[in-house]
Symmetry: C2
Subunit: 423 residues, 2 copies
């Protein structure tokens, strides 16, 4: 029977951010070994306090049931012994990642003898704003601490008991390590005003990372004066060119649409070259039937495929995140690129073709974090690319683009050493 | 006699941003040679149209005189044949810089055969918001075009005739090159609302770069939803430690304060260790006297130095940008670091000491773009560090920190090539 007590207090958000900032200064100076030891202690403590975490999680589940949450949402909320074990193992994987802090990116000496080093340092304090998944509490904390940053966590109110419990366990673990407890702050208030304070606290918070649905991200981007790392909204397209190989096209469409429809690198629109679709309409509609995919298409799509719901503007722009797809028929690669330019979210875009010129046109002209030739958009993911755990997938151009691993949580500093040099 | 005609029309700001965006797509695909040729044509045309530029500049000068501008401001506004020549030569120097676009930053193949390239690409459209210096019009345009970006220029109304003339000459030059004229947009409207539109045009502008005084930068940061690269405010400190070498301390102070007091990497506050100042007060005050430096200090400074004006909160936070200095006396390196933490702008901070431990404490603990041991803060500058021309000095942590050369105007893109890979 767990006798665990919560360490979470309902504090002023500004005070919490200040505490995090103060802690970040100590954290920035710790060695990789000290940070790794702390992460391992957290992992062990999460496992040994599984009962407490599950008991608290139960409160969120009861609340979710009362509020009649969807099964998908309940599933995201639900913790089990195995899931807690996964959290712990996730931290152990972060221990294996290379610490970016202290890396000398370049190093030169001016003619006057002044030595210049460009060195990686932590950003400082990361503000994480997220929705119902309690795993973000652990994952984001692990990546922040490993890269020498303090973190201020603001999770969704639906997971408040689970998140509080997890953070309390992390705090308990940190008392046995070199990392100050204050380096992990959890905002317990569900008051909107309290959260809004995070948006403008430039003196104490170095970056805000929103993770969740499009409306959460939009709210943060529009209201924050603290710099934001935008993540995750993916209205991804697969363009099947006139010269697409049939097998590649079918398997890439199937994988990108049906493997995990709810993730951001899943495909939301298929763009077909008219000539290709004309020839292969039967196999394409068989694929749609096999997975019971709902098809929203333009007029030409409706001519060539059965059961097409007429598409409107919203269909072209929407992330369905389910077994639905928008279908656009074009007569050139340029037309496909123009459609993507208009409706894409600069996440992941693919062309299927055996024509090298069309591939090059697509890869060079489409402005997105990841552009693919003859592969599924599902590879835009830190673990798939070999970066290890990721803090999110950036769809912005500044600072970090695409899957963000540990280096995205750092900045640089010029360190100059002289013996009296003046200009 | 010049028969030059202005190409600047009073257009809708949104239309201009859209034109720039359209042009940026062509520009992104040009080769380094094509971009260099264009810059050389612009340089030559600026020289051959010097008469026209000076004639238009005269209008700004007449207006400045009527409005009783300070001599410093008039000097910044005033163009001469030599200054126009400097503009042209600045562009010729940009031609010599390496083009960052297309650089493959890393490149690997997954076990399944999918090839991954991380390649540098232009940001797209840069919005430049600046004050009275017409040279920014040329410098920023040169750096933007070389890095494959379109630019939307919004200069100060005081230089409106000079800037319009320069942009008209650039447009004339571009008609003879591969770069579309529309890649350089100049906002002629002095209407505040028109400018405000730039702040939120996320669909068409990729980054805003404000260059000018603190209040301009603050306005942009607080009102923009377009990502901002913050530049330039430098409340830089020189900390003269207990173990500072006398000659180094005096020459670094003199250089950092008096070489060019109006620039952002000039020193604004001297922090002295009490023991050191106690011993060398006479030579320090001789230095202040020699340059007629106005001293605002704390109580201990007033005890040790003559003619000290009592410093208030504003003095600690202010960029004097003139021959004035704030003086703080401390009893440890930690106290100096704490003062810098409270009042610094994270630009450039220096310690003068012969004690290696104090140097390390300072270099590691001070959070700034550039930290110096035994050298003047004046080296925080693209040309001093060997980067060539710079678009500004970033005082933020995300994307770029310190002097920003061409790579700061790029982002990356993952380019994936497969033969049907799925997850």
């Amino acid at each position: 029977m767990s006798t665990f007590k919560s360490t979470i207090k309902n504090m002023n958000v500004k005070d919490q951010a200040k505490l995090a900032q103060e802690a970040s200064k100590h954290l920035a100076l710790l060695s990789e070994e000290e940070k790794n030891e702390a992460l391992l202690v957290i992992a062990d403590t999460l496992e040994s306090e599984t009962d407490y975490i599950l008991k608290e999680n139960e409160k969120d589940l009861v609340n979710g049931k009362e509020k009649d949450f969807s099964e998908a949402l309940m599933d995201r909320l639900r913790l089990t012994e195995d899931r807690v074990k996964e959290f712990a193992n996730g931290l152990r994987e972060v221990v294996e990642l290379e610490d970016p802090v202290g890396e000398i990116l370049s190093d030169w000496t001016l003619d006057n003898g002044l030595n210049v080093e460009q060195v990686r340092v932590p950003l400082g304090v990361i503000g994480m704003i997220y929705e119902a998944r309690p795993n973000v509490t652990v994952d984001a904390t692990g990546l922040a601490l490993k890269s020498g940053n303090a973190i201020v966590l603001k999770g969704g109110s639906n997971a408040i008991h689970s998140n509080s419990a997890i953070v309390s366990v992390i705090h308990k673990a940190l008392t046995k390590t070199k990392i100050p407890e204050a380096a992990v702050q959890f905002i317990a208030s569900t008051d909107r005003e309290a959260v809004g304070q995070l948006f403008t606290m430039k003196e104490h918070i170095d970056v805000l990372i929103p993770r969740g649905g499009g409306s959460l991200i939009k709210t943060v981007v529009e209201n924050a004066t603290v710099p934001v790392l935008e993540t995750g909204v993916g209205n991804c397209h697969i363009y099947v060119d006139q010269f697409a190989d049939l097998d590649k096209a079918l398997s890439i469409m199937e994988n990108a649409k049906t493997d995990r429809p709810a993730v951001c690198n899943a495909a939301e629109t298929f763009i077909f070259h008219e000539a290709w679709l004309n020839e292969h309409a039967e196999l394409v509609s068989a694929l749609f039937e096999k997975h019971e995919i709902e098809v929203h298409g333009d007029e030409k799509a409706a001519e060539l495929l059965p059961d097409v719901i007429p598409a409107n503007e919203k269909d072209w722009a929407e992330e369905y995140l389910s077994l639905a797809v928008a279908v656009k028929v074009v007569s050139s690669v340029e037309e496909a690129v123009a459609h993507i330019e208009r409706y894409g979210t600069k996440h992941s875009e693919a062309i299927v073709t055996e024509n090298p010129d069309n591939a090059i046109t697509f890869l060079n002209s489409v402005d997105a974090a990841a552009v693919y030739h003859n592969a599924s958009t599902r590879f835009t993911d830190g673990s798939a690319l070999g970066f290890g755990a990721e803090i999110g997938i950036s769809t912005q151009k500044l600072h970090a683009r695409g899957p963000m691993g540990l280096p995205a949580l750092t900045t640089i500093k010029y360190r100059m050493r002289g013996d009296g040099q003046v200009r």
